[in-house]
Amino acid sequence: MNQEQSAVTESIIGNSDGTSQYLTFMLNDEEYGFDILRVQEIKGWDSATPIPNTPEYIKGVINLRGTIVPIIDLRKRFVLEEIPYGTTTVVIVVRVEAEDRERIMGVVVDAVSDVYNIADAEQKPPPDFGGGVSVEFVKGLSTVDEKLVILLDIDRLLNAEELKAVDAATN
């Protein structure tokens, strides 16, 4: 169904004119974007069951209509300052492609922001951040209404090396 949905979305927004649609959200007062085709749903934050022996940024797992879905706290993932979850805190459920298969996971962010059409040509390659968000997660940068939007590479949030690193860290 998800594929169907995204197929439909794709046909509506199209990709032929060289623009992509991004869902943006706030994290530590910065605006980040996910490729909207990867977003499955947005849901309010509810508790997650912690999973022992996992990195701190894994909040735990939730029950998403019968499947077990891990939840990543994006602040912790980016080693940002922690803030208590509030009323705007949401979980963006995304499809991540890693190791030749697709996983569904939830990403906790401060708040959802907007949906933008961003021309591929307008994307700039990521500069080398001093500290802050590691450049490995960033696909590109763009400016919308004079605001900076950081476009994220979803697949890097939990890619093969990450999994291995996690493995090594826990053993």
Partner: protein, 680 residues
């Protein structure tokens, strides 16, 4: 109106397959000399049922065959025939033969009757031997039917006719269908009202039936009441001589049925499979649907004239609905889960037959046969398992003399076990046989160019070579397993199920194959425990006992590992709170509970705050969207929709004991902790 019963063939085949399993099981458990009569009865009944239904489809070979078996079994249960090893063997062969006959009928292929004919002869020979020949069914003598113009029938029923459920009026109605009937009732025997027993029949009848009716046809109508009445049937005066037409009729219809049956058989095709589900599972489904209906009606009530005051009710209803649908989903999934015994059950027979053929003495030990797995997996795991067991029988276990020579008991053992472990189903086939010849395998691999001459391999790598295509470890290709299906096919089949197969072997000691299959869905009996604020699930099978911790039984060994003294055993203590970063209710261990668990032969005591409910849980993989975590075998969704992780006892024991030698190796005879130092 022609009613076609062919649609029940599939049911018949399925039921017969079950019946044959029952027969086989029973025969394998039958003690020659002192048979269990109940068991013989079960076997008899299975054969009997098959015979009954087979006749309806015109499967006459099956009828003849089961009839002979039935006769033999009948003598056995009546005690007039001894149950010998030979008889049992003959019966087992017959079960195989029937299985073949049925599969031939099912697939519509040409039957090879030579085997069944031979077996049938053997059975008949056996039956004649005891002088107890099966009662050959008397062929009804052809009664010449007369073409008559009519019959006169005098029918005087006994008073208690009605109590047998027969009603004269209904019999007459059937007669009326044969011709023109005139009925005259006689009330002569009717007593006065004060003497009348209302349940008795006092009337008698004199009937005239006009038409071309055979006496046989009339007798048939009264067949059931013959003994409960006086009946006289005589032709009316002008009875004419016989014409053959009528008497031929039933015979022809008999032939028709047979050919009809044959035709239908060949047209038979493989039909959709079905699944046999325990009524308890169905009942729980029905209950859930019931709840769903209640929720639905509640919701539609809320929906009618909705206002914001009823938002709570709506939300509650939706939560309820979600729970209902989830439970329903789980229950439906559960239907697909079947015990692995459905595959394991064929092995006692296989081992028995093959050890006879090979002249070996082999015992089969099966455990974990109730472990459930998905039907699809179950259907596909059978062949690889058969191959592995055959391998053990054929190449693993040595001949009795060789075993004695190497200081082993003459009787070899093959173990077949299944368990849920680490979110997977683990099936092990192990034998205490000769083990795999590492050097020979390596030499052969070099010879075949699978390994470079100068390449050095670890033992594990060498053993893994047996899974290479076309590689057979057997020096001689024996009749049994050398049929071109190699271990490569086994591995391929298991990989197709997303599983893994490994081999461990020690020359002279034995070989163990371990198959791990993932469980997309699996059901487990779980014990819910509370550790801090979290709920965890422990597999019920791994729990040995749960006890209140007593401080004086706590000891520390190797300066760090805490152990608990329990009946001369030292059980390492695992503080789940530390492992999972949870806060215990109390820092005093003696205010907590110790759940003693066992995994892969190692025991451990898990400290928990509270034991919660025991319930069946659906195992969900953490790997689907995340990854495997050591110490966890998956997760499950509890009744309130939250997720609880399932602990993998083996992993937990491993996690906690990795820094301590081998705690369970401690087998002190004296439970004094001072004695432990040398052991640790």
């Amino acid at each position: 109106m022609a009613l076609d019963l062919d649609q029940f063939k599939q049911t018949f085949f399925e039921e017969s397959a079950e019946g044959l399993d029952i027969m086989e099981d029973g025969l394998l458990n039958l003690q020659p000399g002192s048979p269990d009569i109940d068991l013989v009865n079960d076997i008899f009944r299975a054969a009997h049922s098959m015979k009954g239904a087979a006749g309806n489809f015109g499967f006459n070979h099956v009828v003849d065959f089961t009839h002979a078996l039935e006769t033999l079994l009948d003598e056995m249960r009546a005690g007039s025939r001894n149950v010998t090893e030979d008889t049992v063997s003959l019966l087992l062969q017959s079960v195989d033969c029937l299985r073949e006959m049925l599969s031939v009928l099912q697939e519509g292929t040409d039957p090879d009757e030579s085997r069944s004919v031979e077996l049938l002869q053997q059975i008949h020979a056996l039956l004649e031997n005891s002088g107890d020949t099966p009662a050959t069914e008397a062929v009804a003598a052809e009664v010449p039917a007369a073409e008559v113009t009519g019959w006169k029938i005098l029918f005087v029923p006994n008073p208690d006719l009605l109590r047998t459920g027969n009603d004269p009026a209904r019999l007459f109605r059937v007669l009326k269908d044969l011709g023109t009937l005139t009925v005259q009732v006689s009330t002569e025997q009717l007593p006065s009202l004060d003497q009348l027993v209302p349940e008795d029949c006092y009337l008698s009848w004199s009937l005239t039936l006009l038409g071309n009716v055979a006496e046989e046809q009339i007798r048939e109508v009264f067949e059931w009441v013959e003994d409960d009445c006086e009946i006289e049937i005589s032709p009316l005066e002008s009875a004419a001589p016989v014409q053959s037409e009528v008497s031929e009729q039933p015979q022809r219809s008999g032939t028709d049925r047979r050919t009809g049956g044959d035709r239908r058989e060949s047209g038979g095709s493989k039909e959709a499979t079905s699944i046999r589900v325990g009524t308890d599972k169905i009942d729980s489904l029905v209950n859930m649907v019931g709840e769903l209906v209640i929720t639905q009606s509640m919701l539609s009530q809320v929906g009618r004239g909705f206002d914001m005051d009823r938002l709570d009710a709506l939300q509650n209803g939706l939560v309820q609905l979600e729970r209902n649908s989830r439970e329903l989903q789980d229950a439906v999934m559960r239907i697909r889960m079947l015990p692995i015994n459905m595959v394991f059950s064929r092995f006692p027979r296989l081992v028995r037959d093959m050890s006879q053929t090979l002249g070996k003495d082999i015992e089969l030990v099966v455990s974990g046969e109730q472990t459930e797995l998905d039907k699809t997996v179950l259907e596909k795991i059978g062949d690889p398992l058969v191959h592995l067991v055959r391998n053990s029988l054929d190449h693993g276990i040595e001949a009795p003399d060789d075993r004695i020579e190497s200081g082993k008991p003459p009787r070899g053992t093959i173990r077949l076990q299944a368990a849920h472990e680490g979110g997977k189903i683990v099936i092990q086939i192990s034998d205490d046989g000769a083990g795999l010849p590492v050097n020979k395998i390596l030499a052969k691999a070099r010879e075949r160019g699978l390994v470079e001459p100068d390449q050095t391999l670890s033992k594990e790598e060498v053993l893994d070579l047996i899974f290479q295509p076309g590689f057979s470890t057997a020096d001689v290709v024996t009749d049994v397993s050398g049929r071109g299906v190699g271990m490569d096919v086994v591995r391929r089949n298991i990989k197709a199920l997303s599983g893994m197969i490994d081999v461990e072997s020690e020359e002279g000691v034995g070989t163990t194959f371990t198959i791990r299959l993932p469980l997309t869905v699996a059901i487990m009996d779980g014990q819910l425990v509370r550790v801090g604020t979290e709920t965890y699930v422990l597999p019920l099978v791994s729990i040995v006992e749960s006890i209140q911790i007593e401080n004086q039984r706590l000891n520390v060994i190797a300066s760090s590992q805490q152990v608990y003294t329990l009946r001369n055993e030292y059980i390492p203590i695992v503080r789940l709170h530390d492992l999972f970063g949870q806060k215990p209710d109390s820092n005093d261990l003696d205010k907590q509970l110790l759940v003693v668990v066992e995994g892969e032969g190692k025991k451990a005591g898990l400290v928990v705050d509270e034991l919660l409910a025991q319930q069946q849980v659906v195992i969900k993989s953490l790997e689907t969207n995340y990854m495997a975590i050591e110490g966890l075998s998956g997760a499950t969704i509890l009744g309130d929709g939250t997720v609880a992780v399932i602990l993998d006892v083996t992993g937990i024991v491993h996690l906690s004991s990795s820094d301590l030698g081998a705690p369970t190796d401690l087998q002190p005879t004296d439970p004094q902790p001072t004695d432990l130092d040398h052991a640790a």
